[in-house]
Subunit: 209 residues, 2 copies
DNA sequence: GGTACACTGCACCATCGGTACAGTGATCCG
DNA sequence: CGGATCACTGTACCGATGGTGCAGTGTACC
């Protein structure tokens, strides 16, 4: 090549990550070849393995980037909910509404959950990939659980409830609804499940006058 | 080979299916090689392609067999629930309890949902595979929805509720909880989610005395 | 005895992940 | 200005795997 390519250091690696993330969510990890990625980004095979030790390391990097981005995004939603009200239950319900609205606003069916995508390809990935996914889920469990516990202080549930499972339930519903919406090709499946969760949470903590 | 192998016609094909199903649920489709399957079953490559046009056709056959077995199994649970009571809500709740108990009795974490596993490997499979998965989910939606509608006749919910989404919710929770339990390696995640669903259904249709 | 079934055995192909390594142009540092 | 380092290129090569093609073979059934 004779033209001068803008020297972009981290950018090539980042473009690889983006191309790979899109491709993996679209058609799966195994169906995404390294050769197709380097063709898209415009580098050679040697260049790919300069950035990533192997295909697993690529997934590792995608997951890391994705998980922090997801965390920032949800933190943003929590912050907006905190602006609206300080009351724990109301705040959580606002957060859920914001989450549902954002999911409903997506143009197509949700591209899919990377966690779920890795979950069913066990042996293709390293320990690290699975640990990343695991830590991420445990993180969300802990965060939602803390909020639900706080809510239960001021709104004691009418009967004993498994708050940890209720915390997991949101993540479970999101992942499950993504599978459903991808499989039956209905983009409103996800927001509708979140709506049910909102109702459930509201009913569990409804103050029995 | 000199020893006389018992002539087992359909059995070889069936043993292939079983070996493949186990392997795919354990480590994923892409990580399961044809060569490992034929080694396990004790045939040659030619024998494999005599039974299946390609790897996708294998998945197709596994799904078909699996989905009918699953349907029979759930029908059995419904039948047992019908023996216990004829009242629609009580019957559905008995069914959910049976489902939860069976899931809790599994020795390890649930091996995983074939539907979900196919969902994230889009381009590796044929149209048929995806259509099978789709029809299966739509089937369960219709069946649960019919039951919920019947329940709503005798137990009008205290406020309007999306019964179709509530029907989907069970499938969504099961699939999502399998992902969760596989990822964090906690076998009780699935029964705990079903327990929450039981409570939700009971509360939605609780007669406001 | 003939036909169909359920394979075996073997040769071969393309794709893909991955290795190895020498070379090269741009950039940064002293 | 020189040297080191970065971010690659280019090429050659390897093994595993999915898949094809086809001739042959033992068994069962009619």
């Amino acid at each position: 090549m004779s033209f001068i390519k803008p020297r972009s250091t981290a950018t090539t690696r980042d473009r690889l990550l983006t191309a790979a993330e899109v491709a993996i969510l679209d058609k799966g990890f195994a169906a995404t070849s390294i050769e197709e990625l380097i063709a898209e980004v415009g580098i050679t095979k040697g260049g790919f393995f300069y950035h990533f030790r192997d295909k697993s390391a690529l997934v590792e990097a995608i997951l890391e980037r994705h998980l922090t981005a997801e965390e920032d995004w949800l933190d943003g939603l929590f912050a907006r909910a905190a602006e609206a009200t300080t009351e724990p239950l109301a705040q959580f319900l606002v957060f859920l509404r914001l989450l549902r609205e954002q999911m409903a606003a997506l143009p197509d069916v949700h591209p899919g959950c990377l966690i779920a995508a890795t979950c069913f390809q066990e042996r293709l990935f390293t320990r690290t990939v699975h640990d990343l996914a695991r830590q991420n889920l445990l993180n969300w469990r802990a965060r939602f659980h803390a909020r639900l516990t706080a809510i239960a202080q001021t709104h004691p549930p009418n009967s004993k409830i498994d708050l940890e499972a209720l915390a997991d339930m949101l993540v479970v519903l999101v992942d499950g609804a993504i599978i459903l919406s991808k499989t039956v090709r209905e983009k409103d499946a996800l927001p509708r499940q979140i709506a049910l969760y909102e109702r459930f949470v509201a009913e569990v903590f409804r103050d029995v006058g």
